[in-house]
């Protein structure tokens, strides 16, 4: 392979990126060495099995990926602001919309949600950690190295360029020779394995490790949504695993799954991809619904309205989300019977979500509303998501969809549900649980600036796109002609995107500013919360609870505060606490996955085998593992509890 094929050449922006990457690596190494933090990094972060730290790492990655995905978006908007612009050529535009979509869904939304899940769920159910802490660490590092592999593609070898949906035959060897789509197949596979493990881990955790007295119908709503999300993950991700494997076989080993000759069926890819893809969008939206339930209830200072209906609707979504997938390709030609059936199921799945919207509105009604930043994000979600949702029902009508499909109408729809749904929830969750994560509160003034800039910018950017779609502008086009009348709305959209970018910068400044000057959370319960995570210190001691709380009703901590004045622990009740040991194996096994993956991407099979060998060694060592953790003695628990409560 020539150097010019290995490194991406000929593009000044890419060379600038190369320099930036090298400088960043040097910078990180220098800072760690100068401040003598290598051991700290290894002991506290790279080998941790603590769900709270793992959650923080997921969220840091998600915010970084939000930056990268956002830059991709701004590049696209720059190119489309005026007709016939030459800022990005077609090939680069294709790579950028591909990485934008893949990163935002799989490497931004998923880790943000999984990060919040990690931090919050064990605390909300009164547990000390998840069921499988080692597996949890492995999940994170697999995600991390899968994301790493995907991210280096733009400087080494070339990015995938067939869209985040990677349809065949475009994504096959004939039309996409080169390593770009190999990165797609392999990196997503590695991260996907991590996600599947998370699904299993949290399902067992929620089913088996709830505090005594917390029946399923007394769980916080966020935990309920995570339970159902895990069910979706467990049954949907294996479909992606197979689809990506078949793609890998076609691209690397010349099999005939999705080819155009010898019996291959290109459209089978779309079918398999969306059998996973539809549950995937519910995987990113259900936790968002859970976050909104928590925030709305807390800042309306009212119990969530219609708990049973909320549970019923998410269970309904668990079934329905697996039987709607064809609505992603109504125009592929499956015929009126198939299209009609899936049209009906798609319209049906709007109903449970509608139920939830009414329940949130009724929760707000007659509540004492506090307009914190988290609450603002949640309030904005309701009208904005509903716009996305009703346009979804429009798209659900198969015959009408022949007009909307793959136009900017579709783009507007899914950005309305994804951003107003998932991204707003992530911001709300970040503000809401930030004190629990870091011990200080994000600045409210800066938070509100971010909110208004981003939320208004989002509407300015995406609302015009509904009309651009109706005017005929198609998705994934790198430029357009002058006389079509599309230019004014495209200019407007770009202005909106810039506002969103500024909002993001304010958020980053907020994170820095609050770390330095932010108000510390001394009580562990800055919002007068209702659920058990607020019964711990901020941040919690690493074992979470000195004794396992006993739950008496929904909104367990609220009830505790009303009846007993809080969560009180008698020192006589303390017993030694068993904790799992740290391990470096999840980290280096994931490095081995990266090496093997890199080898597969470039078809350097010797390297792939070396990586695979180390994975097997890791598995064997794990099988023989004798370390069963350690116990924290009662004296140390007393000491840590007193230190945590100091200043409360």
């Amino acid at each position: 392979m020539k150097w010019s094929e290995f490194f991406v050449t000929g593009e000044p922006l890419i060379y600038a990126a190369d320099v930036a990457i090298v400088l960043t690596i040097i910078g990180i190494v220098f800072v760690l060495t100068y401040f003598k933090k290598w051991k700290w990094l290894w002991n506290e972060w790279l080998t941790t099995v603590d769900h709270k730290k793992i959650g923080v790492m997921y969220i840091i990655c998600a915010v970084l990926m939000l930056f990268r995905g956002g830059v991709d978006a701004l590049l696209m908007r720059a190119q489309l602001t005026a007709p016939n612009m030459k800022f990005l050529d077609a090939q680069h535009y294709n790579e950028i919309f591909t990485t934008h979509g893949t990163i935002m869904i799989l490497f931004m939304a998923m880790p943000f949600i999984i990060g919040l899940m990690n931090i919050v769920v064990p605390l909300q159910i009164g547990a000390r950690d998840v069921a499988f802490p080692y597996l949890n660490a492995l999940s994170f590092w697999l995600f991390f190295f899968g994301a790493m592999l995907f991210n280096i593609s733009f400087v080494i070898g070339g990015s995938p360029d067939a869209g985040w949906t990677a349809y065949f035959p475009l994504a096959g060897n004939e039309f996409s020779h080169g390593v770009g789509n190999n990165y797609y197949a392999v990196a997503l596979q590695i991260s996907g394995i991590g996600t599947l493990m998370t699904g299993i881990n949290f399902l067992v955790t929620i089913l088996k490790m709830r505090a005594p007295g917390m029946t399923l119908m007394r769980m916080p709503m966020f935990t309920w949504t995570i339970l159902i999300t895990c069910v979706l993950i467990i049954f949907a991700f294996p479909v992606l695993t197979v689809a990506l494997a078949l793609m890998t076989f076609d691209r690397l080993f010349d099999t005939q799954f999705f080819t155009m000759a010898n019996g291959g069926m290109s459209m089978l890819w779309a079918n398999l991809f969306w059998i996973w893809g539809h549950p995937e969008v519910y995987i990113v939206i259900l936790p968002a619904f859970g976050i909104f339930s928590e925030v709305v209830s807390t800042f309306a200072q009212k119990r969530l309205f219609g708990y049973k209906a909320m549970v019923g609707s998410i269970v309904g979504i668990a079934f329905l989300s697996f039987i709607v997938w064809v609505h992603h390709f109504f125009t592929m030609g499956a015929g009126p019977a198939v299209n009609s059936a899936f049209s009906i199921t798609t319209m049906a799945i709007a109903i449970p979500t509608g139920v939830k919207i009414f329940n949130w509105l009724f929760t707000l009604r007659k509540g004492k509303i506090r307009f914190t930043t988290a609450m603002l994000w949640s309030l904005a979600f309701i009208p904005n998501f509903v716009i996305g949702g009703v346009t979804g029902v429009m798209l659900a009508m198969a015959a009408a969809d022949y007009q909307y499909h793959n136009s900017y109408f579709l783009i507007a729809h899914f950005h309305y549900v994804l951003i107003a749904g998932t991204v707003f929830a992530c911001f709300a969750g970040l503000h809401y649980w930030y004190p629990k994560m870091f011990g200080h509160i994000l600045n409210e003034r800066l938070g509100k600036w971010t909110f208004w800039l981003f939320m208004i910018g989002f509407n300015i950017c995406f609302f015009p796109m509904y009309f651009l779609g109706l005017m005929g502008m198609t998705r994934r086009m790198y430029t357009y002609s002058a006389g079509l009348g599309w230019t004014p709305l495209n200019v407007v959209a770009t202005v909106g995107a810039v506002l969103m970018g500024i909002g993001f910068i304010v958020l980053c400044y907020n994170i820095y500013y609050s770390a330095r000057y932010g108000e510390r959370d001394m009580t562990g319960d800055p919002w007068n919360g209702r659920t058990l995570e607020w019964a711990t210190a901020s941040p919690p001691v690493h074992y979470n609870f000195p004794v396992t709380p006993v739950v008496e009703d929904v909104d367990a901590y609220w009830v505790m505060k009303k009846k007993y004045g809080g969560f009180h622990v008698k020192e006589e009740d303390l017993k030694p606490i068993h904790m799992p040991s740290n391990s470096g194996r999840p980290f280096w096994m994931s490095v081995a996955f990266f090496v093997a993956g890199f080898g597969l991407v470039f078809k350097w099979f010797a390297l792939a085998i070396v990586g695979a060998l180390f994975i097997v060694i890791g598995l064997i060592l794990r099988s023989f593992e004798d370390d069963d953790g350690y116990h924290i003695p009662v004296d140390e628990i007393k000491r840590m509890e007193r230190a945590a409560r100091k200043g409360a």
């Binding site: 069921a131 299993i200 490790m209 479909v239 197979v242 010898n262 019996g263 398999l272």
Partner: protein, 193 residues
């Protein structure tokens, strides 16, 4: 209560493994879906009826089914606290499993020699990947079982080793359950259509 269920960690691990098996059902379902959509698309290559032979399929099925039975006997011995019986039946299970893999590899090599490779047609791609994935799972199971046997010999009977044996037995049984569907939907179906 059997030894393998006696610690909380063990109960979590066993449940976790059952959930993992649910995910494996989804995985194999996708492979079956792919196979059933593609198996009549033979391009210029051979059809299932032209390739499959009843004898081989029957031998493979009987080897794997019997190995699932002997695996169950191993757990039975374990629950009665009989280490020698446990290890003996595990070894028989292993040997039957190795026999299965041997026959299957021979079957694949035979097809390749007839010019039917996984690159030949969509039918053959999906056949080799579906049945090959199952075979790869069985091979991993053989390696895993060997590791467990070593641990049993080194560490004896503990709740931990009992749990590990139980979990690998679940895995092994599951692979025979999948084979039932391969036997039915790949081989039998291929020989009648």
């Amino acid at each position: 209560m059997p030894l393998e269920y006696r610690t909380q960690e063990s109960r979590l691990n066993i449940l976790g493994f059952w959930i993992f098996l649910g995910a494996e059902v989804a995985l194999f379902a996708t492979l079956f879906a792919t196979y059933l959509v593609l198996f009549q698309r033979t391009g210029s290559g051979p059809t299932a009826a032209e390739l499959f032979e009843v004898k081989d399929v029957l031998i493979e099925t009987l080897l794997l089914l019997t190995s699932s039975f002997t695996c169950g006997l191993a757990i039975f011995e374990m629950r009665r606290g009989r280490m020698s019986g446990l290890i003996a039946w595990l070894l028989v299970t292993l040997l039957l499993g190795v026999g299965f893999i041997t026959v299957e590899i021979r079957e694949f090599i035979h097809y390749v020699h007839e010019g039917a490779t996984m690159q030949t047609s969509a039918f053959l791609s999906s056949f080799f990947v579906l049945v090959g994935t199952h075979g790869a799972h069985v091979s991993v199971g053989i390696g895993w079982m060997i590791l467990i046997i070593i641990q049993l010999l080194q560490r004896g009977f503990t709740p931990k080793t009992a749990r590990k044996v139980f979990i690998v037995s679940l895995y092994w049984h599951f692979l025979d359950v999948v084979w039932i569907f391969i036997f039915t939907l790949v081989y039998l179906l291929g020989m009648v259509i």
